[in-house]
Structure formats: C-alpha cells, structure tokens
Symmetry: D3
Subunit: 313 residues, 6 copies
C-alpha cells in the first residue's frame, strides 16, 4: 500500500503551505485551481493521489464562501481520484461564530459546514482555537483541535511585564481568557457589557476586577472589526491601566479593523497567521506569529499515527 | 390523516407528565414499562399510535443509563408501531456536561447521545437550558431549546431584594450568569478559580467585582454536588455579602449535595423540576419551581405548528 | 396540520420572486439576509414556518459560491425552524457544467452540489434545462426538471421565418438542438469543431448540413462568454445563411459576452430570466423572456400534489 | 502504518480480559473508567490508539444499560482518538432476547443495540451464541458469531455417559438442542409447553420423545431465572430419566436462579464465562468453562486477517 | 394534502391485486411494465401519485430476481414521481431463507433485500409469515408482519379431525409448528433429522412423539421442492399415522414439487396464494386459500392509521 | 496487513475473468454460485478474503436482473467475510440507458443500480463506455471509467481506409461519434431522425453532412437490436457511401440483432467482449475485440494505487 502523504493547499494559503511543507521536508502538492469567467471554481489535482494519505490545507478568509466551496471541491476531486484518506486542515474554521440558535429561525452554519465537509468526503479535520470547543461535537469524524495558546503566552511571557492582568472583553470570553490568565499566572478581569434599552446597542457597563497600574492583555479567540478591543483599551486606560495589549489566534481584521487599531491606544495587537494577513494590514502595531510549525507537527502526527497530545500542552 | 397527539412518559417523570397533561387537557399515553430480573428493560405501548404525533417525555436522572436506554427503547417501539412523528422531550439532557474533548482520548458523550436519539428514531427534540447552547448543533433534527430563565428571574424579582448582584461561580459560567444579571438589572460578579500546583485541586483565587452589602445570587445551569455553590457562599459572605442565594434550572443534587446545602450559609437554593426531586431532598432551604406549564406550551406549539418564539422571551 | 406554503427568495432573485408570487397571489416570505464585514452570510427567517410547505427560490449567478451557500444556509435555517418540507427552486443549477470526470482528478461539482443541497435539508428540487438531463440522477430526492423549450419555440414560431434551420453549435449540443428542430419542424445543422494540434485551441472545422439562404437559429442550454455563438454566426453567414439568431434558456453572459454579441453579426439573442439580467446587459439585441409563470405553476403543482406533466409538453 | 492492536475492556470483564490477553501475550489497554456521583459514566483512554486496530471487550451483565452505554462511550472515545478500526467483542450480546415483534407495539431492542453500536463507531462485532443467528443480519458491518458448542460438547463427551439424550426445554430451543444432539450422537427430546387458559401461565404439557433410564442434558443458549430448567429436571425425572444435567453458553443466573438450581434435582449445570459469574454464585453444582482461549483466537484472527472458520468447527 | 391512496401491482400478482382491490372497493393503479428485448425491465406509472399514499404489491416468484428488481424499479419511479409514502406489500418475502451466516463467507441475502428496498425508497413493508420473525429486525422502517395462521387453522378446524397431531418436519420448524398445535389444541410431534456421515445427506432419524392412529398435519412456513413433506408423510404413515396432511403459507412448489405431492401418500396439501399458483399446479390434492382479504385489511389499516393488531389474533 | 488481492467473477464472465487473470498472473478466486430450484441465487466464497483487496468482475447480460442480484449478493458475502475493499468491475453497466427522467413517472434505474451497488458494499467501481459519462456522478464512491475508444480506433486505423467518415446514428450520439472522428481524423456526419406524426415511429429524415464515395463508420456506445445501425447502412449507401462499417463497445445484440446484421448491407460490425458473445452470435461479419488487457491494467492500477490516467489516452 501507498505509504506516502501529500499536502494540497487552497489559493489563499499558498504561503502558509510553503512554510508548513518546509518544516515537513516535502513539497506542496500540485493542483490547478482557478475561477472561470462565469465565477465557477475549477480544480484539477495534478499529482496522482491513489491510496495516498492526503491533507487539504485551507482557511476561512474572504471571499469566504468561495474559499469554502474550493475546499469542498478539492475534497471531492481527491475522493474521486481515490485518495485513501482526506484530512481537512482548516486553522480558521468557516462560520465559527454561527454555532447556536440564539434567536428564532437562524441557522447553525458551523454545523452545516461540518456536514458539508463530511459530505464532500473529509475523513478527519484539524482546526485551531474554535470559539466554542463544542464545535468538535458537530462532527462524527475525528477532529484535532489545536491551540495557539502556548505560542501567544510564550510571546507575552517573554515581555516580562511587571503587573500583567488578563482581560476578558465580555462574559462570553471569560472562560477563554481564564485559561490564558492561569498560564500566565496573572489575575483575571472581566468587562461586563449591557444592551442599552431596546436599541440593540451594547456598551461596557463595568470593569469587573482591578486594573490600576497593570499591563492589561485582552485575550480573545479572534479580532474581527476591532471595535470591541479598541473600546476595551480606552475603558481599561480610563480605569488606570498602564498599557493595553491584545492577543488572539485569528486576525480576521475585517472592515475598519486596521484603522481602528492604528487609531486606538492599544500598544500592540498580537495575532497568528491562521488567516493570511496581507502586507497592507501589517502595520507596526500588529505582530503576526506563525502556526506553521504547529500545523506541520499535527500533519506528521496524523499521518504517522503518533499521539498529538504533546501539542496540546 | 390522524390529527391527534399523544404524550408518553418514562418511569421517573410520571408526576411531571401528569402535570403537563393536566395543562394540555389530555391523558398520559398508556405504556407498560418494567425491568426483567435480568435487568433488561421492557416497553410495550398500549395505545395505538399509528400516524400519531407522539411526544416522549423523559429526563436524565439516576439510574442515568437505564433512563436513557428506556428513552431509546420507547422511541424504537413507537417508530416500529408506525408513529408519524416522534418528539423526545428531555428537560434535562443526558450527559450534558460531556460536550467537548478537553483532554486527549475522551468521548463527547453529549454528541453520542444526540446520535443515539436520532438513530432510535427521534424526529425532533425539546430540551431545556443546555450547559452549552452549541449542543443544539449536535443534532441535524430540529431542537427546541427552552429556558427556565424567566421562571427563575420572576421568582427572584418578586423578592424585591435591595442590592442584588449576580454571581458567576466560575469563568465558564460567566456568560450564563450575565444573561440573568441583565434581566434582573443587577451587576455581575465573577469568582476566579485556579488550579493549585499539579494536584488538580481548584480553589477560588479571587472575587472579581464588588459584593459588599449585596444580596448575592449565584446562577448556574445546574447544581450537582453543591460543593462549588457552598464554597461560593462562604467566600461571598467573607467578602461582605449580606446574604447568598443560588438559582439553577437543573437540581441534580447528587451525593452529599443536600447535606452540604443544609450545612452551608446559603439562604435559599432555587431549582426547577426538570429532574424529579424526591421528598427526601425537599428540605426547607430548597425551593422547587415547576416547568410543567412551559413544557405543555412547547408540546402544543410543536404539535400545532405554532411559533414557539414567545416561549423564549 | 398547517396547509399553507411560503416562498422565500435569495438576494439575487428578489425580482423574479415578486413576479412568481404575483402569479401565485401570495407574498414573498420575509427573511433578513446580509453579509457581515467578515464576509460571512447571515440569514434570519422572519415568518414562522413550523409545519409549512416551504419553497426556496434561488439561482446560480455571481458571486456563485456565496449564492450557493446562501441557499444552503436558508435551507438549514428553515429545517431547524421546523418547516415540514423544503423545496429548492433553482432555475439555473449551480455548477451545471461540471457533471462528469472528463480528465483525471477533476471533481464532479454538480453532484457535489446535489449532495450539499440534500445535506442542508432540501426535500425536493425544481430546476430548469440542465445541460445533461442525467443530473436529475445525481439526486435521490425527487427533481422536477422544467424546460423553457415551449417558451423559446413559441417566440421563434411567432416570427414566421421562411426557411428556419436549427443549428447545434457543437456535437455535444446536437441532441439539445434536435429537440428544438423537431418542435419547430426545421432541419438540423451541426457545427463540427476540432481541436487544433496540441494547443488545446478549438475551431469550427465544418458546417455539417445545409444553411444556404436559411434563417439559422443556434440553440443551446446556455450562453456564457458568447464566443462560440458569435463565431457560429460568422461561419453560418459565410456559408450562406441569411440571418442568424441564438436562443438559450440560461443567459450567463459572463466576461466579454455582451460586447461580443453587440459586435457580432447575430441578429437577436433570446434568453430567459432564469439568471437575473441586469439593465446594463439588456442591450437591444438581447431579448429576455420570463419563466415566472412556469415556476409559479410548478410551485403550485408541487404544493397541491397535482401532476406537473402538463408543464413538460 | 501502525500495525499493532490493543484490547480494552469494560469494568465487569477485567478478569476475562486478563485471561484473553495472557493467551495473546499482550497487556490489557489502559483506560480510566468510573461513574461520577451524578451517575454519569466517564471514560478516558490512557494509551495512544491513533491508527491502531482496537478491540473493545465487554458483555451484557447488570447494570445492563450502564454496561451498554459504557461500551458505546468507549467506542466513541476510541473513534475520536483516531483508532483505525474498532471491533466490539461482546460474548453475551445485550438484549439478545428482544429480537422480534411478537406482540403489537414492542421494540426490537436487539436491532436497536446493533444500530447503537454502529452509530457509536464499531466497525465490526464479535459475539457468541446468539439466541437467534438472524441477529447477525441486524448488522451491516461484519459479525463473527462464535459458539461454545465444542467447548460444552467436549466437556459432556468426557463424562462418557451411558445413554445420553439431549433435551430441548421448549419448541423454540429445538433447533439449538438438535445441533448438540447431532454432535454428541444422542437422541433429541422435546418438552412441549402450553399456555394454560387466559392466565398467561405456561406449563410443560408433554415430554415428546423417550427419556427412560437416560442421562438427560437440557441444552439452551442461556439460563436466566432457572425456572424452566429446574422444572424440566423434575418432569424428566418423573418420566424416568436417570439423572439430569443442564448446559448453556450464557449463565445469566438472575434473581432466584442459583437458589433454584441448588434446590432442584439437577445434577450439574455447566455454563461458560461469557458473563462474569461472581464467587457467590459459584456453588458446587455450577461448573464454569472458559471461553478466553476462543476469544483470543478470534481477536488474533480478526487482526491478522486469518480465516476464522476453524473456530466454527 | 392529498388524502387518497393507490395500489400498484407487479406483473405476477395482477390477479391477487384485483382481488385485494375488489375488497377495498378501488381499482388497481395503472402502470406500464414490460421487458425490453435486452432483458431490461421498464416501468412507467400512468396515474399521478404526487403526495399519494402508495402501496406496491409484489411477491417473490420466478423469475425471482426480475421480480425483485421490478419491485425496486417501481418504488424508484414512485419516489421520483413524488409519492408521499410508499409501502411495499410483499406477502412472500424475497430470499426469506437466506437469513443468517450458517457457514463461512455466505451472504445474508434477506438482509440485503431489506436494504435494497429501503434504498429504493420504501417507507414501510407489509409481509407475511417470515421463516424467522427476526427478519423484521433487518429493517429500520416499520414492518407489519401478517400471518395466515388463522386462515390455515380455521380450514383444518373445519375438518373436525378426530385425533389431529401437529408435526414439525424438523427441529428448526418446531417453534412454528407449536403455534399451530396450540391453536388447534393438538399434540406436537417432531421429526428429528440427522446428517449421514460426511456426505451432507439428511434423513429422518426419529419420530419424536406419538402419531399412532392420528391425523398428522405437517405445518411449515413454506413448501418448496416438497421432498421433506413427502418423506415426512411416508415416515409418519410407517409409524402408524392414519392420514397425513400438510399446511403452509407459501406454496413455492418449485422443481418436482407438484409431481412429488401427486405421487406421495399425502392426503391434502393446503397453501395460500401469497405466491401465484398457476392452473398447471392446481392438482386436486392442492388446496389454495386466499389472503386477499387479510392484505386488503392491512392496506386499509396502514392508510387510515388504524391499529392492525386485530389482524394478528 | 494483508497485501494481496483476489478477483472473483460472476457466472457469465468466467471466460473474461480467465483472460484477465492470465494477464495479471493470478487465478480467479474460487466461489460456489448456483441457482436453487426456487430460483434463488446462492453464493459461497471459498477462499478466505479477510482484509483482502477484492475485485468482483461481472457484467450486464441476460438474465440481466439475476446477474445484477448475483453481483450484489457476491458483494454482500465478501463484505460480511471481512474483505478490506471491494471493487465492482462491470465493463457493461446494468440499465445504462435508463439514466434520466425523459417522461413523467419513470425511474432512473441507472442511479438505482448505483445505490444498490453501494448499499451492498461496493467501495469503488470500474466500468466502461457509459452512454452518458454523467453516470459517474450517480456514485459517491470513486468510479474509474475506461474506454474502448483506442482499441476500436486502432482496429479501424489499421484498415487504412481511403475516405473514412464517422457517422453518428442520431443526434444523441453526435458527441460520442465526434470523439472517434477526431481520433481518426475523419469528418463527422449526422443522421437526423424525426418522430413521424403521433405514432411514435422514428425515421431518418436526413443525412446531415457528406458521405459520397466514403467508407462510413457508424460509431455508438452499444448495438442492441441493430435496427438503427442496419437502417443507417441502407440510408448511407443510398446517399453514395462506398461501404458501411459499424463499431461499438458493447455488443448487446438482443432479439433479431444478429439476423439483421447478417441481412444488412453492413460490411463489418466491430464490438468488444464487455458482454460475452456466445459462439452462435459470432457470425463472420461480427468482429469481437478483447478488453481483457485493459481491465487487467485497471485492476492492477487500482490495487497498487498507481495512476490510471495512461489508460484513458
């Protein structure tokens, strides 16, 4: 039987794939992927994959749906080309925030995505820092759920801050932030937000905990429009924090995010490259750490059947 | 076509079923359920259910696995007896806490339960106050996720406490508690727990927020062994709280829970009857509110195809 | 049981939906659909659909993948909102041309789309003029396959052309064109294309059949970039045709299509509105016929359980 | 690829597992299995099983449903831990007697169990002496159906009885007993039972065949409450049998079984250890033969892809 | 919604269908079914079935596989034609005897047939007198398992035989025969067959029980080649029986069966029309009872959602 | 793990299997296949196949349904016997022409067959020259779609005809014929058929293209009753063709086909052995080319995980 493996990559993650494959000592699998003028995506796998252990590296980044369909189409092509096993490696999971019905008649798109991946033919999934770890349970197939927590914590620990406190930007992130607080040995602070009247507007009602003279680090799974983190920075400084950092795994940075960060009193925003950060967004305040080494170890472990639990420490 | 519906109930929820059916103006469906001396569960449905819209009321309470299998066996019998549609009504969802892989090589039993219910033949599920709302996404079939939040908040609002604060007993419950805080218009306080060294022991490191002279209400989805809530009461009183209440939907009250509550400085513990509370556990400090009316409305709404969204307000 | 039906429509087909619902004497179902700044699509169904017979009208038009995901997300939301039955009405089927493996390691995306629709929760599909009628067999659920053939033929018959011939623009369209030829009682002509050397370029090698002094009508299922139809017009006129028309169901009209048509010797290009044709593309040479009446009849037939076979005549 | 295999065992079959693994020359896989005070079962697999060929040894014994759920939860944990293949080895199959609808509106729990095992993730099943061999057909996955017939027959053959006759305790066991009769070269006798009036009571109406001066051996698949076998012994002695033995694969021995056997005129009851027989039940009259060697051979055969047919002779 | 039902019938059961529909007061649904010269079966349903409750009456009779495929193809056509529900009514179930793996590497074709029916689109099944009632458990969909026992017993009871005994032709039929014995209030007798040496030949070793001067009725589920029943007649007469009858539900009567019956000392062989008995096989000794009334009641009950349990008494 | 493979063959393809296995240097797997007198097919696999890579060679030939069921039963037996992977090798696909709903309420039997094969347990399929390549999309499992085009073209090229033209016998075959025309470098001609009035009769209305003095080769996927090809020959000769050949992959040759070919002015009819051609049909005018070498290469490639794309050139 064919004992080799191949890593194929979607269009937006070619750089990440190169970095991952360099660690693995292999080449990115060859595939032809393009969009016809009628906006249909076409995929042709150029290397034979019969009986191969295949990894499809992709991520969720705009155009989000095109990238998701590209993932599904690649998987379909690989399955019909008789790959032995197909692992979707999606460091930023598509529609990760649509994970529950919190109002009537809305979808649970993150579950839909799980079903679409399985239907297309994925045999297993590797992903990172899901907003809710329960999303693993949206799958019947095995999921390896990696975390950038050690990468981010090591980075902040190396700063040797005097009085670091870890800040959860809202109640929903408290659990998330508490894991970082525990690892950094820092106190936890919670920003308590409230809806104002019927308008749907939200504002920070309260800083629950003590930030006087502290270096506050706001931790979350992702930074999207950066409004929450920018407002948090202002409120924390108002309450006496010395300086404010932000750290997250997924730098979505959509819409006005980069401008907001630039204009905010945030000292530094640390993200990883689970989503490609184009040069235009790489302003000095934004630090991008790489997860390529982590993904490479996961791919090797999955292929060789070695335990991945060391990666979770 | 048969336009009637029938409600069948497992052994431990016969009282609740009577209460629900009284609201609905119907009788509990007749079924013979017993355990053979070889410990096998036997079910025989006594009423014809051909083409009926059938509801199976059950819940998770010890013996937990026997009750789950009883639910599955009832569904199997109803499906093979040609019921048109089967809705499992499980106010306390089995294995609700096993909802993610937070360490290597553990199961996600809450997802397994979802698959078992679907495999047995459930067409839809009604449940209440899941620890993580994401569990809805463990199902492909529709889930109606009810909440006892209005019932509990109305009860506490009627007390007209002077300075109520809502307390999340740990970071993982912060989101949960914040919904109660918002509805009661009370500030949120968070108990920050930390693991001590390598021993795995956990203790409350910090009261994040202000409780001086307040009436603290610790809200959570369930109270199991009551160690967490009893310790919270002591810490909150130490930090100046005037009195401490606890409220939750699911009164699991396992092991030493009732003794602990009796011995603790808690003023009152308010639960609902999603799990049957036997007389022996109904000590004066424990108040049990009924969800029968809520379940009855949900059943009627599901049967008649009416919107259930008013129930979620 | 709820005996009503509701028609919901995706963003690009709001006009078509209005037209269809006018015929049906009903209103388009209310839904909130928008794209977040992170490019995620959000859907909320505003009308209760419990136990309703629901139709989701959508089509494949750029952004193709976003529109497909929007369809899937709408279906997911409707299924979880307890719709009794969900029919996807997709007059132009997504990825209709990717229907076979004609080279190694390519996907069969049209089959993938069928599986995605079924996975999301579609109970049945209504579509129109599939390139290959075999695509019906990509589904296990029932498919109603409508055709615009009578609409197009009636339009051309009303012109009372003297010597009409029907032209298949290539061998793969011969079967398609022959059905139009038979209905119009006109001879069939075939353009025989050949690949030139190894370059992959294709050119019309031969006009198989007689076009001298005839009014040639080139029929196909869709016109995409219009290169084929424009070249056909030139070759047919070179071979003595008096004038050249083109007719198709699906006016994809991507890339340079409209410019090409304008610049070509084509007298008129007749398409339908299975794909929305924006005003900018509605040049005088392009005639757009409506399929709204046909879709309305199909929806009514499906809902009422009436035979649709009259629609196929 | 990982070419090793591992055997994990549920709590009630630890002894059997030790015995099986001793034959195999391997150790029982390490797993943490316990019950929380809320009666939820927890499983954690301690050895890495990525890409391993895994066997889960369990059986049906009280608490029956807890043991079944433990089996399912172990399988779920192993599947999510990326085991390559999972074989459930269940010498006594759960709910084996609930294999048909013999009255209206009863379940077919043995089929339900088959679906639950498959849903949890079992890839194949090894079991022993099913009441009805048709239960194999409840599975789509391969089933290896072992039998203790040679073990039991060899044991009785070694007694060198003078005039052995094989007795089927009722019509439903006639086929079963006839296989033993044929192997032992002994005549077959049938006890014909009848329901008395409308009371549902059953009594032995007739001994069909000749037992005068014979050593009667009553064979069945299992002995549960032992009422049937004890009554058979009395009737057979009344009809002139010299002595009466009983043999079966599965010693369920529930309720008053052991007392009944002790009090009955049965000379010896021979069972196997497909169900653990605790010391308290091991009275002198009860002989327990081991199936460990048979299970070990089956596991080795399944792992190595060797034919198991020699085991069936 | 469409509240009507339609009964369609395969080619070999047109007569039975006429009889059933006469009882129901309806007409057999119109369908075109024929075999092309390339031996492919073609089906076209001529009546609209959209949203109808449809019954497909067929049975297993030579050419067995063509009739099975015809059933599957009819179901496929009805499903794609949008029937609301499809019930396969198969009085003689295909491959009913292939219900277990009793030797290595054989199929369980009766389970395969269950899966084929479900795959084709059957929503439920009505069948009669399965060799093993466990075959119901081969299906996940509901199965109504009818029996001709009352029809056959009433026929024999009307004969008012003096000393009837019921004979099981082998150990595997003992359970079956015992149900008839109980209903007729007659003693049970068992023919004990043994394999002779290694040749695979089987002969009756023993008549277990008393037949002297009795009217012996050999009951079985089916009579196929009639060798077993003919030999039984001879042995029973040798042992003193006055006369020998045979009764069964399914008159397979393959190969030399009719000749054997004619030549045998059997007084009468009673079968039903679950399988069509052509005139050539209707010799005076063979009596054919009709199950049309029973099937009609079952169809009406299934359609109206009425309890079928009276049919099982 | 077992690294061998085995080829089993159905009854009608024993000769082809011998030829294929000779190329592969292996023996045909041993299996016992026969039909009982009740017309039930029985299969027993005689070689152990545990963990083997198994190929089931069969084809569609009368009795078509028996051969299909034999294929399914063989697959069921192999799956239950624990084969690791099962590939159905079906050079002539069953019901290949029933691939779409071209009139109301007809089945899509070719899709049904795909589902039946998958349900029985096929993991992949190898087939040849499907009428419509879209049938590949009827499967979710991988399909290798081989073609006899090079074999047929090489045969005709070797004739060194002076003015060959390739003729499509009707519009539906134009695409098919055009591939042969392109490979042979010959012009394409199309026979335009029309239905006459309402009678359903079809006749050739027109020869579209030029055949004067040419050697016409009519290419199609199959020749069934030969009426079409025989009529084509007459019409082509009438239009001046010098001589007429016919070539196809599948020699169905049903009903009067061989007589018609003998009586027709066709010079030679070239088919392959995807369907066994019995000696009685092997008249001098009919040439049979072998696909054994092609199938052997495909089987080897599938087993070894080598790219099959060279086979498609």
């Amino acid at each position: 039987m064919n004992d080799t493996y191949k890593v194929f990559a979607g269009r937006p993650v070619q750089d990440l794939a190169q970095e991952v494959c360099r660690v693995l000592g292999t080449d990115v699998g060859r595939a032809e992927i393009f969009t016809f003028s009628n906006d249909n995506t076409f995929v042709r796998i150029l290397d034979s994959v019969r009986e191969c252990d295949v990894f499809v590296l992709h991520t969720s980044t705009p155009p989000v749906d095109q990238n998701l369909m590209e993932t599904l189409i690649m998987i379909d092509a690989l399955r019909r080309a008789s790959a032995r096993r197909i692992t979707a490696v999606l460091p930023y999971y598509p529609y990760v925030r649509s994970d529950k019905k919190d109002q009537p008649r809305v979808p649970i798109t993150a579950r839909l995505v799980a079903d679409l991946l399985t239907t297309a033919g994925a045999d297993r999934v590797v992903t990172m820092d899901l907003t809710a770890a329960q999303i693993q349970g949206f799958f019947r197939i095995p999921v390896d759920h990696l975390t950038a927590l050690p990468i981010l914590c090591d980075y902040f620990a190396a700063k040797k801050l005097k009085h670091p406190v870890v800040v959860a930007p809202d109640a929903g992130s408290a659990k998330w932030a508490s894991r970082y607080a525990e690892r950094l040995g820092a106190p936890l602070v919670l920003l308590d937000k409230r809806r104002l009247g019927n308008s749907g507007e939200v504002s920070i009602a309260n800083v629950v905990g003590e930030v006087q003279d502290a270096e506050a680090i706001v931790f979350d799974d992702e930074i999207d429009r950066a409004s929450s983190v920018a407002e948090a920075a202002r409120v924390l400084l108002d309450h006496g924090a010395r300086e404010v950092y932000a750290g997250c795994t997924h730098g979505v940075l959509s819409g006005p995010a980069v401008e907001r960060i630039a204009a905010s009193p945030l000292k530094e925003v640390v993200v990883t490259n689970t989503i490609p950060i184009p040069p235009a967004k790489r302003i000095p305040k934004i630090t991008v750490l790489s997860v390529a080494d982590l993904l490479a170890q996961a791919i090797r472990g999955v292929h060789e059947g070695a335990s991945l639990s060391p990666l979770f420490r």
